[in-house]
């Protein structure tokens, strides 16, 4: 390559890098990509050079000098270009590699699959709400949704700013906790602030063992034996489990292929559970719960987490053949909404929108895939410690938070569309938690009473369906 065509090639290459920086991203992302890519291209140039040059030491020091110069002066990509050209012909290959890599990353980023856009649990950081259609939403409420989006950015900034403080607070707490200086009451108060990812495994394990520890200790190899003992036995649930493995957390990098470690573990946990509790076997929703547990806990703990939730925290028959428990809780929630958020209740009654259209999935999957990731992790923290009341607290809090907005809606389809969009925009879990925990005391007894009452009603309805069905069959 003569120097002219080389120059032309480099110019084009940096053009690609610049386009990546300027076109594809908002400000924050583009900052990251400009720096990363320019720097990587820059490094490649020098690695390429030092390989071809015998005097490595001299070159390396030059390379370091170059990088610090770049950093100090914050050189633009065109400066880099000039620098690269002046540094000799062997840079072309290195630049080619950097550009190929950059283009590959660009594709990944476009598809939301770039490793640098994952959070600590492997969730892609790309906004999953890009393709929402706003057709159904009245103008006045688009503003609400946009505000929620803005809130998200502010929230993230604020969080980054306060992350240290939050972690220090937890560190301080854990010190006392480890020395047995804290009571459960203190833990509850602390957990209601949300758990820092650093201590999440520890606290979750504590919560789970509090519920299933006795069971576990009686038979330490229970989980392994469950899998071993039943290996090769036919299981009617396996087909359904297989169908859902990759549909559990589609937005998480750890659950993308059948070969991935997490997916193999997820299969194990779900199959083991279907043997453990044959009455339930497998029900959609359990997969999401198990997947979240696996993001925080080792495989065996994740299994016990599922057991703790299904058999100890939630009432009986939540996931059994007609979802009796879960259906009942939708009526219980409706009762709470009627008393605590009457405006929403009246609106939904007036427009004849059934609350459970949105909330059933909240309860069956403990909000996973319904709310933004950090919001449902916050709910999970308290849910594992305090139990099923937390589901109601947050479900009510959500409706309280959007009360005024729902009241502006006039049409049945508008309400459906708004609910679908707004729940994915509830990033501000602090406000939500504030509302949820300020609802006043939630007595176990009143919840139990309500459940008893509505369980009967649900049973009656199901009976009627059955009667109707058998009537239809005889007609046929």
């Amino acid at each position: 390559m003569n120097s002219n065509s080389e120059f032309e090639f480099l110019r084009k290459s940096f053009g690609v890098l610049q386009r990546i920086a300027s076109i594809e991203f908002d400000q924050a992302k583009s900052k990251w990509s400009t720096l990363q890519y320019a720097e990587r291209a820059f490094e490649s140039v020098h690695i390429g050079r030092s390989r071809t040059n015998e005097n490595k030491r001299r070159k390396r020091s030059k390379s370091e000098h170059g990088r610090s110069k770049y950093r100090r002066k914050n050189l633009s990509t065109s400066d880099l270009l000039v620098y690269s050209v002046s540094s000799g012909g062997e840079v072309v290959e290195a630049i080619k590699c950097a550009v190929a890599e950059a283009q590959c990353s660009l594709t990944q980023i476009r598809e939301g699959k770039h490793p640098n856009f994952r959070d600590c649990y492997g969730f892609y950081r790309i906004d999953d709400d890009i393709d929402f259609t706003f057709e159904d939403i009245p103008d006045s409420l688009r503003k609400t949704i946009k505000n929620c989006e803005k809130e998200k950015q502010r929230f993230i900034d604020k969080k980054l700013h306060k992350a240290n403080e939050f972690e220090k607070d937890w560190e301080f707490f854990m010190e006392s906790w480890n020395n047995n200086l804290m009571e459960d009451r203190d833990l509850k108060k602390q957990v209601r602030k949300g758990i820092t990812p650093i201590y999440r495994q520890k606290i979750w394990t504590y919560c789970i063992n509090k519920r299933v520890g006795l069971k576990r200790n009686k038979n330490k190899d229970y989980y392994r034996n469950l899998l071993k003992r039943n290996e090769g036995r036919s299981n009617p649930n396996i087909k359904q489990i297989e169908l859902d493995l990759l549909r559990s957390l589609p937005n998480n990098s750890k659950f993308q292929t059948f070969m991935s470690d997490s997916v193999i573990k997820l299969r194990n946990v779900l199959v083991a559970f279907s043997w453990h509790c044959e009455q339930i076997g497998y029900c959609q929703g359990l997969n999401r719960i198990a997947a979240i547990a696996l993001l925080v806990l080792p495989e065996e703990d994740a299994f016990w987490c599922l057991v703790a939730i299904v058999e100890h925290i939630l009432p009986k028959d939540y996931y059994t053949n007609v979802l009796l428990g879960a259906q009942t809780d939708q009526k219980v929630l409706r009762d709470f909404i009627m008393k605590l958020v009457p405006k929403v209740y009246n609106k939904l009654e007036e427009k004849r929108v059934d609350l459970s259209l949105f909330t059933l999935s909240w309860f069956l999957a403990v909000f996973v895939e319904n709310l933004p990731v950090e919001t449902y992790f916050r709910i999970w923290d308290s849910f594992l410690l305090e139990g099923d009341k937390i589901l109601f607290r947050f479900a009510i809090a959500i409706f309280k938070k959007i009360e005024e907005d729902i009241c502006k809606l006039n049409e049945n389809p508008e309400i459906h569309a708004f609910m679908r969009i707004i729940q994915r925009s509830l990033y501000d879990h602090h406000t939500l938690a504030d509302i949820a925990f300020k609802l006043g005391p939630f007595s176990k007894k009143s919840l139990a009473n309500k459940r008893e009452l509505y369980l009967e009603e649900t049973k009656k309805e199901l009976e009627e369906w059955k009667k109707r069905e058998s009537r239809n069959k005889t007609i046929e």
Binding site: S248, R352, L462, R468
Partner: protein, 216 residues
Amino acid sequence: MAAGPYNYSYIFKYIIIGDMGVGKSCLLHQFTEKKFMADCPHTIGVEFGTRIIEVAGQKIKLQIWDTAGQERFRAVTRSYYRGAAGALMVYDITRRTTYNHLSSWLTDARNLTNPNTVIFLIGNKSDLDAQRDVTYDEAKQFAEENGLMFLECSAKTGENVEDAFLDTAKKIYKNIQDGSLDLNAAESGVQHKPSNGPRGANLGGESSGNKDPCSC
């Protein structure tokens, strides 16, 4: 709050039913967003989609209820059939079991909707012809025997997806035109929207079942 005049004159409610994993949500996504969603989460309960289409010069808004396919969710999703003007019944051409279950889905669709509900049979995943487990002819015959409209589609390539949704709407519209679908009947699944008049409200599976005359 005053709303402007509607830019459509009818709302049709659709439901999508069928076994789990046949691609109900992917069909909906292909129809509303015109693209294939490879990593589509499964549905718990119900999801919604809408799109405005045009039939015979009339703008029609389709409100589509996409239901969960797992057997035990039928106890919940049954209540969503009410007031559907169209039902898309989906099976997977590569899995015979999903085809074998059609008669049970059809029974639900017949029993839980009104007699004029248009039922459209969709054999999804037509792009996977090499793995085909159900022939076109037998499905066609099943459809004819039961008076269903039928197409094989692919949510992945988009083949025939548009047609399935649109043909259903055309048939419903035709039923309105020739009077066989009474808009004033409860739960017809159709809402007429005069461009600046008051609103009818016989849409939605939640209605109590009382007669609820449309305001048109």
